[in-house]
């Protein structure tokens, strides 16, 4: 060694400085990512939280003869401009169904128009001076107030911001995901079991493996085009239905589940298989009773993450017609439906200012569900994970 002590210590200092620099740079990157996340969350919370409150107004409903034709006539003339049209248009329908209402009066809290709501929340609104004065007066009397927005969770989409909700999209998402899971989970797990436990290692299976890995990275819109061509045009599955959406997303989720399952199966030590074969188990028994149960936590985690990914997907669903206007909540697999991210997309394009908070509110609900799903995946892994 011809290096002197000084040279070596200088080199050491340089190396330490480098590693310190690397540490700071990577911490900076993390901090930056954290800042973006914080910014995004605070922006969404700031815009979205008001969506969970909605203005209600107390009115006297006079079921007179005019009201049977035109709902607006049941209300005081000035007040009727401040009440949601979704309420007014139901008055004639109610009077038709319950003829004994004619001539009676009733005082009730009803949904206020979105402009009143926006005015109370201090956002931009289109009320004129007289209407503003009236709302101020009603507020002083306690006849108009912001309440928890149950409508948002109990109705479907509406053209009137005050009456629009996410229930139909949430139900659509649940049904679509059920179809996705019902198709992708068994097929994906079975494929992985075959490839990992039964298939010989030859050119053919290697080609399949490469293709599966490639499929996982394909832009999702291509699966939409595939779904349109095969499921809708060839098999004639109803357009816009959760069935066709679920089948399309299943195509997308399949590779994710296959890859996760194979990794989970591979992590089960061969000693277990050998021991089972040693006591005379058949391959089927080895897989069913030993390998699959041990790999299950990993399979579940992978499937949940694949499902969460599919849940946030809109691009393939536009192609199969699931980005549609769906006010009714329907739990049928073959009727038209929409999903949460598609609902957010639809609201983002509406001209009314009040839809801004609905959009952000919808994003918050979607985020909450995704965080819940991912947390479940983490908990499953933590709880059942085994180290060998």
């Amino acid at each position: 060694m011809s290096q002197t002590f000084d040279e070596i210590s200088a080199q050491l200092r340089r190396r330490h400085r480098r590693s310190a620099r690397l540490k700071w740079v990577s911490m900076g990157a993390l901090g930056l990512a954290g800042l973006f996340l914080l910014w995004f969350f605070s922006d969404m919370l700031g815009k979205g939280l008001p969506a969970f409150q909605q203005a209600q107004i107390q009115v006297e409903i006079d079921y007179n003869e005019d009201a049977a034709r035109m709902g607006r006539a049941a209300l005081d003339r000035d007040l009727s401009r401040l009440v949601s049209r979704t309420f007014e248009r139901m008055i004639p329908v109610q009077m038709r169904e319950n003829p004994e209402l004619l001539g009676s009066k009733e005082t009730r809290w009803v949904l206020a128009d979105s402009e009143v709501d926006q005015y109370l929340k201090g956002h931009r609104h289109k009320l004129n001076d007289a209407q503003r004065a009236l709302v101020d007066e009603l507020e002083a009397e306690g006849r108009v107030e912001l309440r928890f927005n149950t409508t948002f969770f109990t109705t479907g989409d509406s053209k009137m911001p005050e009456a629009s909700g996410i229930l139909s999209a949430a139900v659509g998402t649940i049904m679509t995901m059920l179809v996705t899971l019902a198709i992708a989970f068994p097929i994906g797990v079975m494929t992985a079991v075959y490839l990992e436990e039964f298939a010989p290692d030859n050119r053919f299976t290697q080609a399949i493996e490469i293709n599966i890995n490639n499929l996982a990275a394909i832009p999702s819109i291509l699966f939409g085009l595939l779904g349109l061509a095969i499921f809708i045009n060839f098999f004639g599955v109803p357009r816009s239905s959760p069935l066709v959406g679920g089948m399309t997303l299943a195509l997308m989720t399949l590779p994710v589940i296959i890859i996760a399952t194979r990794t989970a199966l591979r992590s089960v030590p061969d000693a277990i298989r050998h021991a089972a074969f040693g006591v005379g188990c058949s391959r089927w028994q080895v897989v069913r009773d030993h390998v699959l149960p041990l790999a299950m936590p990993g399979i579940m985690t992978g499937s949940i993450i694949g499902l969460a990914q599919a849940m946030g997907e809109t691009a393939p669903l536009i192609i199969v017609g699931m980005v549609a206007f769906i006010p009714d909540v329907s739990a049928s697999l073959t009727e038209a439906a929409t999903v949460l991210p598609a609902q957010v997309f639809t609201w983002a394009g509406e001209p009314e200012k009040a839809f801004v908070e609905k959009t952000a509110g919808g994003i918050l609900v979607l985020l909450a569900i995704l965080i819940f799903l991912n947390a479940t995946a983490v908990i499953l892994r933590k709880k059942f994970e085994r180290r060998w």
Partner: protein, 345 residues
Amino acid sequence: MNRILTSRTFKTTAIAAAVMGMATVAHARDQIRIVGSSTVYPFASYVTEEFGAVTEYPTPVIESTGSGGGIRLFCNGVGEGTPDISNASRRIKAAELERCIENGVTDVTEVKIGSDGIVFAQSSTNESVDLTLEQLFLAVAAKVPGQGDKQGELIDNPYQKWSDIDASLPEREISIYGPPSTSGTRDAFEELVMEAVSEEIDGYGGEGYTDIRADGAYIDAGENDNLIVQRLTEDTDAFGIFGYSFLVENPNALIAADIDGVEAESEAISAGDYPIARSLFFYVKNQHADAVPPLYEYVDMFVSEMMIGEEGYLGDLGLIPLPEGEREQTREKVANRAALQVADL
């Protein structure tokens, strides 16, 4: 090994069978299916919601596919899987109707519901401006007729500021947020502004010229008109091109430029004075009227005075009502279920 293979094959077959089973269920339906223009979509979806709420029928399904895409789906044929109504922000073309008839869709009623204006607007912090169609064309075209020694030639658009086009215009950079080429608003803009002007002025040989400049002065702002509105409130020097309903929704934030001295407002557009306006339509497949019982109830509700009249609800959303006489004609056509002929176009 054999057993596991059989069980897998069985599952796959079962799923395929289930899928085909669902697909073959065919019966008359109660739910109307509508496709078509994204411009008509906000109005049509308002009517569908109302229809679903006040009748015993389910809410019609409505998809925003664009006018051309909608008519293509509509003309695919008659029967269960095809739409009953197609919305359009332009009239159906003769070629499209011929394709319809070839595919057996022979009985189509045309329903005109109102007009829509395209506005050229800016942030309300600016002074209002008055543009001619030609000035607007010169600001967005890729090539314009040259001046001086380049007289008679087409040159790359040299105008960087509005005052370069005409000294009376403000001395601001030309910066225009507009719809991308997939949008119906862009189609209408190209037809009503670009083609109309280039056919009139020298240098284009009397042909419609629709190339929009790509040097950064015209900015594709995406299909979402809300984004354009947002950008205009931030970038106060810029102008934007979008549908009239977005101007109605942002009365304090935006002002529209007058075009050829006409203000962009409901009456001028309705009367046809405002030059960048188009009619909105929908097309009804009469052959479905028996299989889909609510079809004409929906159409009747749409053309009622409550919806498309002067004080109608769709007016609040930015639909510009037809003059009274034309509204009557529309209702008459609906009552007679008048079939559209290729010769009418």
